[in-house]
């Protein structure tokens, strides 16, 4: 079916996209030099009461959650056998791979001695730490994603034998990926179990790992819908027939799944509040913020997804997907920055430095540029004619 020709338009380098991303990248590089020559205090507002800031809250926590599309999509297609979403697997894997790479690069910035990042694997282990488990699983999962993604560049480069071997490993990698994702998504939440006195009771719960895991699935599904919407707009010319045909199925199918998951997530969040008798906290500033998060960014998207699926309203689902992504970012930032240290007086609270936000934007831009580079060349949105998918 692939009478598709990859058309790479020959345009000049001075496009609006390139200019903007170029400026961001230049600015980011300057800030990078500042960070690594001046120390963390030169570009961040981190202090001894607030050791983790925007980079952990957004790049790490939100980044890992939003990159969850990889395992959810490949699980749906390869384990649960939903072949109709097959076209979405490679883009989702790519998003996931770039997302996790972004996380690791952000860690290089955040950690005090980035060259020592391999220490927990090579030098001395601290297995009592939840973070050790996160690091191990993220490291392994990045490898899994890399292997799953590697098919595309291998096909692009024509290295047939290796590409075929990796193809055969798909199901193993997928299962491995789901197990690893379950572990590290929930463990990111488990890290905050250590600080019941520092996290506002409405966000602290012994079920934080469960909340993080479920919301990661929601984030992954929504991110796939969101990314698919953007890609269809800007990379339509790269897509083959199968992709274009199954696009709508993807939106409605994932929208349905996301709606169900959001409903379940809403329920367990309320149960979490009830189990710890925390209803009284709702009648306060933090309480209203919590209500906004779960009513406006969990319940509302749940209903909108449901309505969109029922009325076959693709636009509504896509907007809801974007809204849900914002909601997941909000949730992660709430836990790491807003509800954390809620008991401290205002003058000791943390507000991100503008340079921290700029570096995050820089990293996201790098990922977007990489995404564009890859999808305009490698068989992500189309099947390479030499490598028909054996799973069809």
């Amino acid at each position: 079916m692939s009478e598709h020709v990859a058309v790479v338009e020959k345009r000049g380098l001075i496009t609006p996209f390139n200019v903007i991303t170029g400026l961001i990248i230049i600015g980011g590089l300057i800030l990078t030099v500042m960070r690594f020559t001046g120390g963390l205090s030169s570009v961040t507002n981190l202090d001894n009461y607030n050791p983790w800031g925007f980079w952990i809250g957004f790049d790490l926590l939100a980044g890992v959650a939003l990159a969850a599309g990889g395992y959810t999509t490949s699980a749906a297609v390869y384990i649960f056998g939903m072949k109709k979403y097959h076209a979405a697997v490679r883009p989702a894997i790519l998003t996931g791979f770039l997302g996790y790479s972004l996380v690791v690069v952000a860690l290089l910035y955040d950690v005090g001695r980035p060259l020592r990042l391999p220490y927990p694997f090579l030098v001395q282990q601290g297995p009592t730490s939840v973070m050790f488990e996160v690091a191990a699983c993220v490291g392994l999962y990045l490898t899994v994603l890399f292997l799953e993604f590697s098919n595309a560049p291998l096909e692009w480069l024509g290295i047939k034998k290796v590409a075929r071997i990796i193809s055969k490993l798909t199901i193993v990698l997928t299962i491995f990926g789901v197990v690893l994702s379950t572990l590290h998504q929930s463990s990111l939440g488990a890290m905050y179990l250590m600080v019941p006195a520092k996290l506002h009771p409405l966000w602290y719960s012994s079920f934080l790992p469960v909340f993080f895991f479920v919301s990661s699935m929601i984030a992954g599904l929504s991110m796939v819908i969101f990314e698919s919407a953007i890609s269809h707009k800007y990379f339509h010319h790269m897509m083959d027939e199968e992709h274009k045909k199954t696009a709508d199925q993807l939106v409605f199918g994932f929208g349905k799944a996301a709606s169900a998951l959001l409903a379940g997530y809403f329920a367990i969040k309320l149960i979490g509040v009830s189990l710890d008798h925390n209803w009284g906290y709702l009648n306060s500033g933090y309480g209203y913020w919590f209500l906004l998060e779960i009513l406006g960014f969990v319940l509302l998207p749940c209903i909108c997804y449901a309505i969109g699926v029922r009325e076959k309203n693709k636009r509504l689902i896509q907007i809801t997907a974007a809204w849900t992504v914002v909601g997941i970012i909000l949730n992660r930032l709430n836990i790491s920055l807003v509800a954390f240290n809620y008991h401290l007086p205002d003058e000791l609270r943390y507000v991100p430095h503008w340079m921290e936000i700029c570096i995050s934007i820089f990293l996201v831009t790098l990922a977007v540029v990489a995404f564009k580079f890859i999808v305009t060349r490698m068989p992500i949105f189309f099947e390479h004619p030499d490598f028909p998918d054996p799973h069809h």
């Binding site: 906290y281 709702l282 406006g296």
Partner: protein, 524 residues
């Protein structure tokens, strides 16, 4: 069209949910931590409790508001308080005796709301007429009635004003019908039936308890009926009178304003000057320790109110506090009632309170408070059984006779403490000045001189844990290395000096007790 319906539905749904959760939250929410204002005249009307569980929140009644408002309009207590048979006023609202629950509720509702409503109809300032305005769930005030005891001073003010006519208040002295004394001091049976021979008038609390007994009102009812009635009448006759509204008695700030006539003459009640206190069991084999010679006169002068010690009735302590702990005495044994370390009513407890005064605290604050020094027992238990007390004198110690020459002439003027010289020069210790200051402080108090016995005791304030004498050990004899495992309670020399000196300075209220330069200058 469909899409618009959906968004309307969504909005309504969202708002409904928000309202639901918020109302739920506010119901369970922590109540505001408002600071409740204190009112001395606030009465919590929860008398309906005796008829069963309260259906509504108790009413917060501001008594003075009502009294003052009615007074301004020329009306008195009789508006709410009916007259008893014997002419006194009933303390209860619009009723004399006990009534049923329904009747009580109706009385309150009819008269309160009725009056309020009447006033509203006449366009006057009024009170609440709806249920929730009286039965408030979140009150603004708390009742803060400071206790008003009938102290010696207040009693003296009264007996002067009444011209020593005891019967005015001590109504059990004379028979009310015949006007003759109900009993004389020899009539034991009559006294047991609560009559008070002339000259032997006793405290109101002897008969009027916390709770009413049959037709004998509680101390609260009795004192309000007696006091306020009398004050009211005298006020009407334009005589000098006492407080009538709640806050004038029960507000601590107003209590300070009571007249203080200086030295109050001793209350004459044929009480003894000196008493021999024993366990009350004359033949009890266990009664072997020397009895206590108690200077009742000195103690009378030291307290404001007989009830400081005679806290229930004006009896002997051992009539209720027996050796075994009778139920009459709340199961407090005699030993506990005399020796309890932290109870103001016990001998030892009250003395411990005195030891906190500035003249005493310097030494006594540093001493452990959980047990009495064994040497102090014989300071009190010093009565020799066959000795006759000449002139009612007890063994008093009078250290004020010891002069400076006799004991203190060998004490150095100043000692330079140099054992730990490092950062600072030697500390300058004005030894003689300090011991003389201690002596002058102690000599002011007969309690102190009695228990100290002699001036050598004063040395033990600092030269502690060693025998009494005129050449006590130096600090370094016992205090050297800190944190010795065998005696972790004993500080090292550095800690010992600073804890002792600075500890004392803090307790006596010295300004800047932690200013290093006062004792030793820093080395250059």
């Amino acid at each position: 069209m469909k899409n618009r319906n959906n968004s309307v539905f969504l909005m309504c749904f969202g708002l409904a949910l928000l309202a639901l959760v918020l109302s739920f939250a506010s119901a369970c929410g922590d109540s505001d931590s408002r600071i409740l204002k204190e009112r001395a005249d606030l009465l919590i009307l929860d008398g309906m409790k005796i008829h069963g569980e309260l259906e509504r929140a108790p009413v917060q009644f501001k008594h003075d508001n009502h009294t003052l408002r009615l007074e301004a309009e020329g009306q008195g207590c009789s508006v709410c308080h009916l007259a008893n048979e014997n002419g006194t006023r009933s303390i209860r609202f619009m009723r004399i005796g006990d009534v049923s629950g329904k009747q009580q509720m109706e009385i309150y509702h009819n008269y309160c709301i009725g009056c309020h409503q009447q006033r509203l109809d006449l366009d006057k300032d009024s009170g609440p007429v709806t249920c929730g305005d009286c039965h408030k769930n979140d009150p603004e005030y708390i009742a803060a009635q400071a206790k008003i005891g009938f102290s010696k001073t207040i009693h003296y003010n009264h007996i002067k004003a009444m011209n020593y006519n005891c019967v005015t208040c001590h109504h059990e002295t004379l028979d009310q019908n015949t006007g003759k004394p109900r009993c004389d001091k020899a009539d034991a049976e009559a006294i047991a039936n609560n009559c008070q021979p002339s000259g032997y008038e006793t405290s109101c609390r002897d008969c009027h308890m916390e709770k009413a007994i049959e037709n004998r009102s509680s101390i609260r009812d009795a004192s309000h009926a007696m006091c306020i009635d009398c004050h009211q009448k005298r006020g009407e006759d334009s005589l000098k009178t006492g407080p009538v509204i709640c806050s004038d008695c029960h507000d601590r700030n107003k209590q300070i304003l009571f007249k203080k006539p200086g030295k109050v003459p001793r209350l004459k009640r044929y009480q003894p000057d000196k008493v021999i206190i024993g366990s009350g069991n004359v033949t009890d084999e266990l009664n072997r320790l020397a009895k206590v010679e108690f200077n009742h006169l000195a103690h009378e002068n030291a307290v404001e109110n007989c009830h400081n010690c005679h806290h229930g009735q004006m009896n002997k302590c051992n009539s209720c506090h027996t050796t075994k702990g009778d139920i009459k005495g709340g199961r407090i044994t005699l030993e506990q009632s005399m020796h309890a370390m932290n109870e103001k009513g016990s001998c030892v407890g009250c003395h411990n309170v005195k030891k906190k005064e500035k003249d005493c605290a310097g030494c006594h604050d540093l001493m452990p408070k959980h047990e009495m020094p064994k040497s102090s027992c014989t300071s009190c238990h010093n009565h020799h059984e066959n000795e006759v007390l000449a002139n009612n004198k007890v063994h008093d110690n009078d250290t004020a006779t010891q002069t400076e020459d006799s004991l203190f002439k060998n004490i150095p003027e100043q000692i330079d403490i140099s054992q730990l010289e490092a950062k600072f020069d030697a500390a300058r210790f004005p030894h003689k000045k300090i011991i003389l200051a201690l002596k002058s402080g102690a000599d002011k108090s007969k309690l102190a001189t009695h228990f100290h016995g002699d001036d050598e005791t004063l040395c033990m304030g600092c030269h502690h844990h060693s025998p009494k004498g005129t050449s006590p050990p130096a600090c370094i004899s016992c205090h050297n290395k800190p944190f010795d495992e065998k005696d972790l309670n004993r500080p090292g020399l550095l800690g010992a000096y600073h804890q002792q000196c600075i500890g004392c300075h803090k307790s006596i209220g010295m300004k800047n007790p932690t200013d290093c330069a006062v004792c030793h200058t820093e080395k250059k």
